[in-house]
Amino acid sequence: MILEVKNVTKVFGGLTAVNDVSFDLEEGQILGLIGPNGAGKTTLFNCINGIYPLTKGSVIFRGQQLNGLPTYKVADLGLARTHQIVRPLNELTVRENVMVGACFGRKNMGLGQATEVADEVLAFVGLDKRAGLLANSLNVAQKKRLEMARALAAQPYLLLLDEVLAGLNPTEVTGMVDTIRKIREQGITIIMIEHIMHAVMNVSDRVIVLNYGTLIAEGTPAEVQGNQEVIEAYLGDPDLAERLLEEERG
């Protein structure tokens, strides 16, 4: 197991954002993390990579407890992530942004090697033509790719992708899904939060579903798609309308 999440709970004041969530992740897999808006998906990411201290539970990454470690220690151990709301280092160039990931990530590269890796990764995500520009000159889709490039440059064991497909057009989505598959082929394990169902169902080996902070389903994409509770979480109770009509009639 590359990652073991055990009974993770995160409480903000009176709100339980993540409630007793447990799951395991095998090396080399892509795990889809889905759920309605506000279900606690990003909060769970923040719990895993150390942005939030856990209220309860533990996260074990490659045999090591992550609880209480600052985010830079977590990065050092080989866990990288992207942000749902992009966070480019605006006044640095695109290449320098990616070099930060390479220099301070798992491999702690020197500047020379980081430059090479940055250029490779930028070519991989299709930003090589923008390498010399300031990051704030990119559009949103490009900034999403930059987020991904920065995370990849760290050469992590585990990559957390937070809605990298959101806001992309259908062609871009197809391209990004290909990229995600290629990343997995390099041996990197991935957890991806995603709202675009066909994409996440296509690419994931397993899917877990959060609703109101609670894990309500876990399994292969096909299993999860057929799960009654999941359908209800997304669409409401499918039989409710029928039942109400029955009541009215009779």
Binding site: H83, N90, F104, L111, G112
Partner: protein
């Protein structure tokens, strides 16, 4: 925007040639740039010009070099790391006091006393950094003002440091430096060389992995940490480096002046003028604080010695009013400063203006 770049995320194209690297291979290759030449020429020209026109010119250019050194030190924290230190002069004053005490009370020579002053300032920054660098934005800036004022109040209450009156060197002490006139030259050259070292340090930091980490912190500290930048450690080192040189420069300054007192050592106006210099030239660039400090200091000298009057009234400390106005104009219209503005105008200039 080309169609290529809007066509989504292409899988890697193995046949694509890698983009040309901005850096030449090896550390020396990375450091030797046209920009470095410009910087060295600027400082060395100022050093030599100041030394070749008699005592009056030397005095004017001594202050220019001193402030170039101080502003460039501050820039490592303010420009690279993005932490605004309003009270940076505390390191100049504190280092100055410690070194002056070593000369005055312990009979130390200027050289070890200067190094002691620098070490004391760096240590102070190390201690302070661990405590206040977790504050962000305005809170950090306010804390730095508080520290400067607190240090002033503390020194006033220490009789061994001369209390509110400070300490005055016996003029005879200059005999061991070849007389008072020679001592002035010694301090001039020592300050000039030190300023050159500050600027080189600033340049090396900017070009280093450490500097890249600092700039990542400046842009988004949380995101930088997520990428693995050990922000608490990097910030503390930036603070220590930016305090070390002002400490040494302070010892030289007060030795030259032959006296030290709390109001002069911990002068908040100076601190604000330092900020103006950095902002004026361009925060986060190496050349910016050099030009900013030089330009501001020359303007200041002109204003101080002119008989400028408004409606027949001689205005006291007009340079401070001008500093305030300049700061306002910079912040409103060219927040990147003069060099930053030039760099943004032309990619060709960028190679020459680091």
């Amino acid at each position: 925007m080309s169609a290529q770049n809007n066509s989504g995320l292409q899988p890697p194209n193995t046949s694509a040639a890698p983009a040309p690297s901005r850096f030449r291979s090896g550390m020396m290759g990375r450091l030797l740039t046209p920009g470095l030449v410009v910087i060295l020429v600027a400082i060395i020209a100022a050093m030599i010009y100041g030394a070749t026109g008699g005592a009056a010119r030397r005095e004017a250019w001594y202050t220019v070099l001193l402030f170039v050194g101080l502003a460039s030190s501050l820039n490592i924290l303010l420009g690279y790391t993005g932490y605004v230190s309003f009270g940076h002069i505390v390191f100049f004053g504190f280092g100055g006091y410690i070194g002056f005490f070593a000369i005055y009370q312990l009979g130390w020579n200027l050289l070890p006393a200067s190094l002691l002053g620098g070490a004391a300032a760096a240590l102070l920054a190390l201690g302070l950094g661990l405590a206040i660098l977790r504050l962000r934005g305005a809170y950090f800036a306010l804390a730095t003002i508080g520290i400067n004022e607190a240090m002033k109040a503390l020194v006033i209450n220490i009789p061994a440091l001369g209390g509110p009156n400070g300490m005055v060197l016996n003029f005879g002490i200059y005999a061991s430096y070849g007389g008072a006139a020679q001592a002035q030259w010694t301090v001039y050259w020592a300050t000039a060389v030190l300023t050159l070292m500050v600027v080189l340090t600033s340049y090396i930091v900017k070009k280093s992995k450490f500097g890249l980490g600092l700039m990542a912190i400046r842009e988004d500290e949380d995101a930088a940490e997520v990428m693995g930048v050990v922000a608490p450690r990097a910030k503390t080192w930036a603070y220590v480096i930016s305090a070390l040189f002002p400490g040494i420069l302070g010892v030289l300054f007060f030795f030259k002046a032959s006296n030290i007192e709390p109001a002069a050592a911990f002068n908040l106006n100076r601190s604000i003028e330092l900020l103006v210099m950095v902002m004026l030239g361009g925060q986060g660039t190496v050349l910016g604080p050099i030009l900013g400090a030089g330009g501001y200091q020359l303007l200041r000298t002109t204003l101080l010695t002119s008989d400028l009057a408004l409606f027949g009234l001689k205005i006291k400390d007009i340079q401070l009013a001008v500093a305030g106005l300049l700061l306002l104009i910079i912040v409103l219209f060219i927040p990147v400063g003069f060099i930053g503005w030039l760099r943004s105008r032309s990619t060709r200039l960028r190679r020459w203006l680091e």
